[in-house]
Symmetry: C2
Subunit: 149 residues, 2 copies
């Protein structure tokens, strides 16, 4: 068998920790993806160890990048399915991206609301050794800087 770095006959195999290092995932995470059916079951060497070829590494990298863009594992799976489907339309992919974009945008807006409430609170509080605290007062009795859920 040919391992890392070598390019014998254009193919190579990595064991799980090498694949982890290569993709930026952890061994645990790779096994977890397999168990959850996000990726197909890895092939095994004679000793029972998993090994990964170029294609599998590409798939793992795909997931790593999609996760980094805020896609759920479920969505990663759907994106992978589109990637492996030659009859896909780019519109389907774009739609997933835009759904995600909308969700990210609404999370940002929610956090911005929270941020402005927290800033108001922070400004209202002397932040000294005294016991009086407008922050606690507001948390206790409610106020108009409250964030609507």
């Amino acid at each position: 068998m040919v391992w890392v770095g070598s390019t014998y006959a254009g193919n190579f195999k990595m064991n799980i920790s090498q694949a982890a290092k290569f993709t930026g995932l952890t061994s645990k995470t790779i096994r977890f993806y397999e168990e959850k059916g996000i990726i197909p079951k890895a092939r095994r060497a004679d000793n029972g160890y998993r090994f990964y070829t170029e294609d599998q590494l590409e798939t793992l990298g795909f997931i790593k990048r999609a996760r980094g863009l805020g896609f759920s594992l479920d969505e990663c799976k759907k994106l992978l399915d589109l990637q492996h489907n030659p009859d896909r339309a780019s519109a389907e992919v774009k739609e997933k991206v835009q759904e995600n974009l909308a969700r990210v945008q609404s999370q940002i807006e929610h956090l911005e609301d929270i941020k402005s409430s927290l800033m108001k609170m922070s400004k209202s509080c002397p932040g000294n050794k005294g016991h009086e605290c407008p922050i606690l007062d507001e948390l206790c009795h409610g106020g108009h800087t409250e964030v609507l859920q």
Copy 2:
């Protein structure tokens, strides 16, 4: 016993679903907070039902509002402890708020990075019936719009 709305002798009692309606929580959530030790165990009526007095309702409202501002349950507990501690300094409370603010801010920044990557991707894709898809290409092979973790 005097129930909702009534103010007999300045005290009243609510059962769990009334307390839930009043605070905007759910009965399940209130029980959960009790089980987790975020709030003290509720007193029980003769039939075993929990009931809540004005003070308890205030505490529940406190948590509801603090949660809405992005504090974890653990932090809510700490804020409640400060609220019940007459020797607190407002500086301690303000510190919690500022920690939370910093976390919220960094979440916003992370999401903004993701958002801009997603927008670039979306623009690069024709979004038609064709199979060619720059989004999938980038997820597959990595690109410079990648979000650094």
